[in-house]
């Protein structure tokens, strides 16, 4: 399981355009283990698309090495490269469907190279279309589909050839949440049953949280942070990562809203606004109940985002603690002793938490 199916070494990609020169990717290393689901997030224009396009050499890097499935892609003969590419499915940000083929024809396309008979191809493509919920439309042409429908066709096409690796460039950004979830579940299922390795560019941190095991955060062409999903979500090191998580978990906007709300600004002497972050088993112990029973401090939840992430509980909360001053102080100390990070919000610098 620790074998790296994708191993990009010191990848640099430059675009030259007359006088302009953009370094879209700068000296990036990226290792993805077989069977992993690897998320890539970052601002628009960070170089995510460019980086993943290097994986199947659609984008030749200006410098660096590309090892996929133990093959050094840059050293392969064209025919070998094409063979290697059949095992790397790709979902494009802009769908890239063929307008002259039906939906079915588009999904069948990658199968034309295989030894499957016409009817086997149709069968396989129809199955895939069923998976993405478009079997009814199989004889329509891309022009007749809505944005999300096109994206689902692109997903089916990328899976047609039973790839080892699936590269997904915002495959769900045009989809409604329900369809997004079902596609993510589909990907997860393929990952679990067939060992499909997935590289997922997405803007939806929710999606990352949902299915990724690892995540890399890109900024201005570089991977500024990477790691286990729990690690990144619980203890982000970079400001950018923090911001992304704040927005994804909605903490950023929530803090802003709460601190801007006059009614929460006018707390009594006996009240204290706090922000709590916690991870792990800490919630095995019922915090708020404990505060109430042990310190006689009531916790009123203004904002909460608590969830189970890979067997651990990850939580953010904004509470109004009400009680005697010394009790509140004790309660906060108790929380800190239990690995809960506490931030007093009355004094908080608005800028610091704002997105």
């Amino acid at each position: 399981m620790t074998e790296n199916i994708i191993d990009l070494k010191k990848i640099t990609v430059e675009f030259k355009d007359g006088e302009n020169q953009v370094q879209a990717v700068k000296n990036v290393d990226l290792q993805v283990e077989k069977g992993d689901i690897y998320g890539i997030v970052g601002y628009s224009g960070a170089g995510k698309s460019t980086l993943v396009r290097v994986i199947n050499l659609l984008q030749k890097p200006t410098a660096g090495e590309v090892h996929i499935n133990k093959q050094d892609l840059l050293q392969l003969k064209p025919v070998e490269l094409r063979q290697a590419r059949t095992k790397i499915g790709m979902i494009f940000q802009h769908f890239n469907l063929m307008k002259s083929r039906t939906i079915l024809g588009n999904v069948e396309y990658p199968l034309l190279k295989t030894k499957l008979s016409k009817s086997e191809r149709t069968k396989r493509a129809t199955e895939l279309l069923k998976l993405v919920g478009l079997e009814q439309r199989k004889n329509d042409y891309p022009r007749q589909l809505s944005g999300g429908q096109k994206q689902r066709v692109a997903i089916a096409r990328a899976l047609a050839n039973n790839p080892d690796i699936l590269i997904s460039d915002e495959a769900t950004s045009a989809l409604d949440p329900k369809t997004t979830l079902s596609i993510l579940n589909l990907l997860k299922q393929l990952n679990e049953t067939l060992g499909l390795t997935i590289v997922l560019i997405t803007h939806e941190m929710q999606a990352v949280k949902e299915i990724c095991n690892h995540v890399a955060v890109m900024q201005k062409g570089e991977i500024v942070e990477r790691g286990d999903i729990e690690e990144i979500f619980s203890t982000p090191k970079k400001k950018l990562t923090q911001e992304f998580i704040n927005i994804a978990t909605n903490v950023g906007p929530a803090v802003e809203k709460v601190t801007e709300n006059p009614s929460f600004q006018q707390l009594t002497q006996k009240q204290q606004l706090v922000q709590l972050n916690f991870i792990g088993q800490s919630t095995e112990q019922p915090i708020i109940s404990t505060l109430a029973k042990q310190f006689d401090v009531d916790g009123n939840i203004l904002f909460a985002n608590v969830e189970q992430l890979h067997e651990e509980t990850l939580g953010f909360m904004i509470l109004v603690l009400t009680g005697e001053n010394q009790n509140i102080t004790k309660a906060i100390q108790f929380l800190k002793d239990n690995q809960v990070r506490v931030k007093l919000l009355n004094k908080v610098d608005k800028k610091e938490v704002q997105a």
Binding site: L58, R85, T86, M90, F92, M98, K99, S100
Partner: protein, 222 residues
């Protein structure tokens, strides 16, 4: 009838013959020049800078050959390639002999049109095919020729109509055909009715080609 078309009326068999000759020349040279032009156009697209088989030598060569052939006036082309024509069809005059210069005269034009048409294809779609492991040949047949089909058809209409025009010039080497009748009988001998009827028949052909082509292009545009 006789007073309006005094000459045509005695030339029915000539018209039938000429129509057949025009159809024959147009069809045969369209098919052969079509294949040649398509192949050349595709090679131009594939070998061009950034193409799927980028090769600046082949691109430069084809580009120059196409330009060269396009700079030769048709009448001179008739003469220049006469030895080649004789080698291929055994004679340099007559309808069949006209095919060779017609083909060589029109295919570079068609190739250029194909090149222009295929330039339009969304590079993203080509990339998607490459990503799925398609070879250049597969991309040509399964992507370029399919995605570009409506445009290829439009270019073909334009070319076939130009070709019909060109056949009228092949009269110089005894090709016959409607253009020849219109010029060497109708026009040169002042039999205006012959010119008009010959042109009407050409016009009908042009409309059929245009209509059928438009219909096909529209149908294929999904």
């Amino acid at each position: 009838m006789a007073s309006w078309f005094p000459n045509v009326i005695h030339m029915q068999s000539e018209f039938a013959q000429a129509t057949w000759e025009t159809v024959y020349m147009t069809l045969v040279s369209a098919i052969i020049a079509g294949v040649l032009g398509l192949a050349t156009g595709i090679f131009l697209i594939a070998s061009q800078p950034g193409g799927i088989l980028e090769d600046s030598f082949i691109y430069g060569l084809l580009d120059k050959i196409v330009n060269l052939l396009r700079s030769i006036p048709f009448i001179i082309l008739l003469a220049v390639i006469a030895p080649f024509t004789r080698y291929l069809v055994g004679t340099t005059i007559g309808t069949t002999a006209a095919l060779v210069p017609l083909i060589i005269g029109i295919f570079p034009f068609y190739a250029r049109q194909i090149q222009n048409a295929l330039t339009e294809i969304d590079p993203g779609v080509i990339e998607a095919a490459q990503a799925s492991g398609s070879s250049p040949t597969e991309i040509i047949f399964r992507v370029y020729l399919r995605e570009g089909l409506p445009d290829i058809i439009r270019a073909s209409i334009l070319t076939i109509i130009s070709l019909i025009g060109l056949t009228t010039m092949a009269g110089a080497i005894g090709s016959g055909g409607l253009g020849d009748i219109a010029i060497s009988i109708g026009y040169a001998r002042f039999e205006n009715d012959v010119t008009i009827v010959a042109m009407l028949i050409i016009l009908i052909m042009v409309f059929i080609v245009q209509f059928a082509g438009d219909w096909l292009a529209k149908r294929l545009e999904h």
